[in-house]
């Protein structure tokens, strides 16, 4: 198992590099000039200088190499510095100072991080800023969706073709087919405007430190989470149902019943455990999508998560930002593919990787 994991991890490095290259080339194709906003009056030589400062104008392979260095060498240094200097968990470690930022006051050698063209600040800082709301809202929606979907799936399969099953199918499909730009405003009109229960502009600066602020956080999360969870629920419950149906007819279920076990144990332990194997991997495979897949919901509720960051960066031609975010998605996808495979191996004793 360990060898397998390490092997896959090592193998994923060239894959990722390749993916990075493809994304890079693809974005090169896309029109976009960071100097677009610079006024005409700036002489061309100066513009050229500014371009060079951003690493543009060099041959593509040099640019790519530079980005790689920034991404894999300099950013980790920043991260380590942050860990040892500021973070609560590792703050006790001796402070490191691997990274020297280039700045107006710095003389001598310095490192340039991946800089966003739009805000002229390090891309990673902004991404880190966006993580809390993305995780709170989009991540939570995924969790909630799964928690709702699994019981629905189980019961639908156990009572196949019952009223519950039919209704469940119907509702989940409706949920699947209604786009969030409709459900979002609908919820807003009902719960914010008519009933006045929840705020709908997501406050990204809100800090949870006591019960009241926690309640507020729940309130502001509720609607976007509902909108997003609807889609997750629809999909996962279908998978769950199919997987349960596959297993309910297996011989071992009959064996379990022949032992005189109660239906609850037969279904919830024997069948569920087997049915969860494929579903868990499907869930793992869906995780990367949650980071980028909620653009519309983020816009409707002004959540400003990573999805919104990507789309604004795209429209603003902020190439380094787009490249970094897309690459992070790729890493997540490759990683969660691996996690899904490993989970499969862990959950199903029949599968052995070596």
């Amino acid at each position: 198992m360990l060898t397998y994991t390490i092997r896959r991890l090592v193998l994923s490095v060239p894959t990722l590099l390749f993916i990075a290259l493809i994304i890079f080339l693809l974005l090169q194709l896309a029109p976009g000039d960071p100097m677009a906003q610079v006024p005409l009056t700036v002489p061309p030589e100066v513009k050229q200088k500014m371009r060079e400062a951003l690493g543009l104008g060099q041959p593509i392979h040099v640019q790519f190499w530079k980005w790689l260095v920034q991404m894999f060498w300099i950013e980790p240094q920043v991260f380590i510095d942050w860990l040892t200097n500021k973070s609560a968990l590792f703050g006790w470690l001796p402070d490191t100072n691997l990274y020297t930022a280039c700045g107006p006051t710095v003389e001598g050698p310095c490192d340039l991080r991946v800089i966003s063209w739009q805000t002229r600040s390090p891309v990673m800082d902004i991404v880190v800023q966006r993580l809390p709301q993305t995780l709170w809202v989009v991540g939570m929606a995924y969790v909630v969706g799964i928690l709702i979907a699994i019981p629905i799936g189980i019961y639908s399969a156990y009572r196949q073709y019952s009223v519950f099953d039919q209704a469940g199918t119907f509702i989940t499909m409706i949920g699947f087919s209604i786009p969030p730009f409709f459900t979002g405003p609908l919820l807003i009109v009902i719960f914010s405007v008519q009933l006045g229960w929840f705020p709908f502009i997501y406050d990204t600066t809100h800090v949870v430190d006591d019960w009241d602020s926690f309640v507020f956080q729940l309130q502001q999360m509720l609607m976007p989470v509902m909108v997003l969870a609807l889609q997750t629920t629809a999909q996962i419950s279908r998978f769950m149902r199919a997987s349960m149906l596959d297993n309910l007819n297996q011989d071992y279920v009959r064996t379990a019943r022949a032992k005189g076990l109660s239906e609850a144990i037969v279904v919830m332990i024997h069948v569920l455990r087997n049915s969860m194997i494929p579903v868990v991997t499907v869930i793992a495979l869906g995780v990367p999508a949650i980071f980028g897949g909620a653009i519309i919901t983020e816009v409707v509720f002004s959540v400003n998560g990573i999805g919104q960051l990507l789309i604004t960066a795209l429209f603003a031609n902020d190439l380094p930002m787009v490249l970094t975010i897309t690459f992070m998605f790729a890493v997540l996808i490759v990683l969660f593919n691996l996690i899904a495979d490993i989970l499969y191996g862990l959950l199903d004793p029949r599968i052995r990787y070596d």
Partner: protein
């Protein structure tokens, strides 16, 4: 008290609600089971054996069935009698697994793959006997010892897939026995197992019955097993009980036509004693077919020399070959025109691999294969395709070997199309003739495999194999999945074709009785090698190699007077055919003990 039956089934009728309306699974069945008695239920596939037993457990409901009539009287431990057909599921739960234990057919799937053996074993104990975990584990250990599983302690922590088929089936038996049920239902507990393991399991069930006095309801379609196990026999036919009697009565004096026909179709080991050549079976009531011996010719058709096939096992960080499965190791034999060579041996000994290597469906490592003078191994891609026209294959599972999405006509025509033999109208005629050949009505041409019975499907497969007029047919367990009655017909068909067309067969099987019936020559395989080979008569009547002897002994004989006793059985587990890459096995050397009869003198691993 002893004479009072534990369970009585009266006029049982079970119906299934399907989309096409109700289907009757069991129409009218009545019999009873007394303590300490083994009642065997026989009948062909689909006759309602399983449904009857599941009704007794009240498990049919979960399969969509419904007990539409009749009574299922059961004597409880406390002595009161209840009608299981009317008991509610809550009470049933206290009976299932507690007073009635059940062993299912498929050891591969009857256990939950994600829980350890120990967990599955103790579940019932903790529920019914109120044991705590420790006690339950102790009892589980005891049970595993009782069913003779080696290293029982370790097994408890293992998952089902880590056990061999035989061991898994023993675990299922242990599970059924856990709460010392008074009635044990065994639904074809040995069908999927090797002869040797089958013999052990049968002996085990028999011993348990004797030791604990449990009543056993034993379901099987194998008459030989019945002869070995039964005290009484119930014969079922299409949902009805057609005959009931003691085992001797049934075997010696069958009353019903179906029972007679069934018994006539059972190949019995030893039937061919004294005969040199195979001959088709006499089927009761089937008039006018020849049962003459099939002589064959002396010309060698297929020559296999030092065939070795290994499968690499990849592993480690770089996915390099870390070991090899030595599936076939230095195997040599030859088949003459118009004759049948049978390969026998236990599961996993490499029989199929030999067959596939000859057709180069798997690539052999070394060796020579010549078919009618053509060196098969040396052929290139196109040459191989041409050569395959001369050798065809019939596979084990008639359902799996036909494409479910294709009409039979097209399936049989496929080889003809591949080799552009004939086209258009002529092609259709040819296929129709082939259907006639295998005695299938022409109306089947446009049907799909699922519309046919198993025997008919296998005939289609044979027709397909015959399409190109091959010289050699490799029949890989071609009749193993069939009911005895159907099996007999297919075997006869194959032998008739051999007599008429001069076909040669490489017949792969683990069923010794069938092999005895059809072969001219026999090779016994063990762990990738042929350990004994020679004319069928010589090998069967005078087995020399210790493994051959053990194998012969394990075969159940369809004769209630020749029951085997447990003491005779003594098997070693088969060692692993997996060896490290640098392992260099010794070549096989044979000694000729009588003309054409060779036995392996070098180490075979047995």
């Amino acid at each position: 008290m002893l004479d009072q039956p534990i369970a009585t089934i009266e006029k049982l009728r079970v119906e299934f609600q399907t989309k096409d309306g109700p289907v009757v699974g069991v129409e009218d069945v009545s019999f009873d089971i007394k303590p300490g008695e083994t009642v065997c239920i026989v009948g062909e596939s689909g006759s309602g054996k399983s449904v009857s037993s599941l009704s007794l457990m009240r498990l049919v409901e979960y399969g969509g069935g419904e007990i539409a009539g009749g009574r299922l009287l059961f004597n409880r431990r406390e002595g009161d009698e209840i009608d299981l057909a009317k008991t509610d599921q809550g009470l049933m739960r206290t009976i299932r697994g507690n007073e009635i234990g059940m062993i299912f057919q498929e050891p591969m799937t009857a256990l939950n793959p994600v829980f350890t053996v120990g967990r599955q074993l103790t579940e019932g104990l903790r529920l019914h006997m109120g044991m705590n975990r420790k006690q339950a584990e102790a009892r589980a250990l005891e049970l595993l010892n009782q069913v003779r599983i080696p290293e029982a302690e370790r097994r408890l922590k293992q998952y089902p897939h880590e056990l061999s088929g035989g061991m898994r089936q023993r675990v299922v038996i242990a599970m059924a026995l856990a709460c010392e049920p008074r009635l044990l239902i065994a639904d074809e507990p040995t069908t999927a197992l090797d002869v040797t393991i089958q013999a052990e399991i049968l002996a085990l069930v028999d011993r348990l019955k004797r030791e604990t006095g449990t009543a056993v309801m034993f379901i099987t379609h194998d008459m030989a097993v019945v002869a070995q196990m039964a005290d009484r026999v119930v014969v079922m036919y299409r949902g009805n009980k057609v005959e009931e009697g003691t085992v001797e009565e049934i075997f010696e004096n069958p009353q019903h036509d179906y029972t007679k026909a069934l018994l006539s179709a059972v190949p019995r080991l030893g039937e061919m004693t004294g005969k040199d050549l195979p001959e088709p079976m006499k089927l009761l009531g089937v008039e006018g077919h020849r049962t003459d011996p099939i002589p064959g010719s002396e010309d060698v058709l297929l020559e296999v020399r030092n065939l070795t096939t290994r499968f690499p096992v990849k592993g480690g960080f770089f996915r390099r070959t870390v070991a090899n499965v030595h599936a076939v190791e230095d195997v040599s034999f030859s088949i003459r025109k118009g004759r049948t060579l049978s390969l026998v041996g236990e599961s996993g000994c490499g029989k199929s691999t030999v067959g596939r290597s000859i057709l180069r469906l798997v690539e052999p490592q070394e060796g020579h294969v010549t078919l009618g003078g053509v060196d098969i191994i040396a052929l290139g891609h196109d040459g191989l395709q041409k050569a395959r026209a001369d050798m065809q294959m019939v596979f084990q599972d008639p359902f799996a070997s036909l494409n479910p999405q294709m009409q039979l006509m097209d399936q049989v025509a496929e080889p003809l199309r591949n080799y552009h033999v004939v086209k258009g109208k002529e092609l259709q005629d040819r296929v129709a003739q082939l259907f006639d050949r295998v005695e299938l009505p022409r109306s089947f041409l446009r049907r799909f495999p699922h519309e046919l019975s198993g025997g008919q499907r296998q005939r289609v497969a044979i027709a397909r194999a015959l399409a190109l007029n091959p010289k050699l047919i490799v029949a890989d367990e071609a009749v193993s999945a069939l009911d005895v009655s159907v099996q007999a017909q297919v075997l006869n068909l194959m032998m008739e074709l051999q007599a008429e067309l001069g076909l040669s067969y490489l017949f792969i099987s683990h069923d010794m009785a069938v092999v005895e019936r059809v072969s001219h020559d026999v090779g016994v395989m063990y762990l990738g090698r042929i350990v004994e080979m020679g004319p069928r008569r010589a090998v069967f009547e005078d087995p020399r190699h210790p493994y051959t002897r053990a194998l012969m002994k394990a075969v159940p004989i369809a004769d209630p007077h020749r029951r085997k006793s447990e003491k005779e059985l003594n098997f070693k587990p088969i060692p692993s055919p997996m060896h490290p890459v640098d392992y260099e096995p010794a070549p096989s050397e044979y000694e000729e003990v009588s003309p054409g009869h060779f036995i392996l003198t070098t180490d075979s691993g047995y």
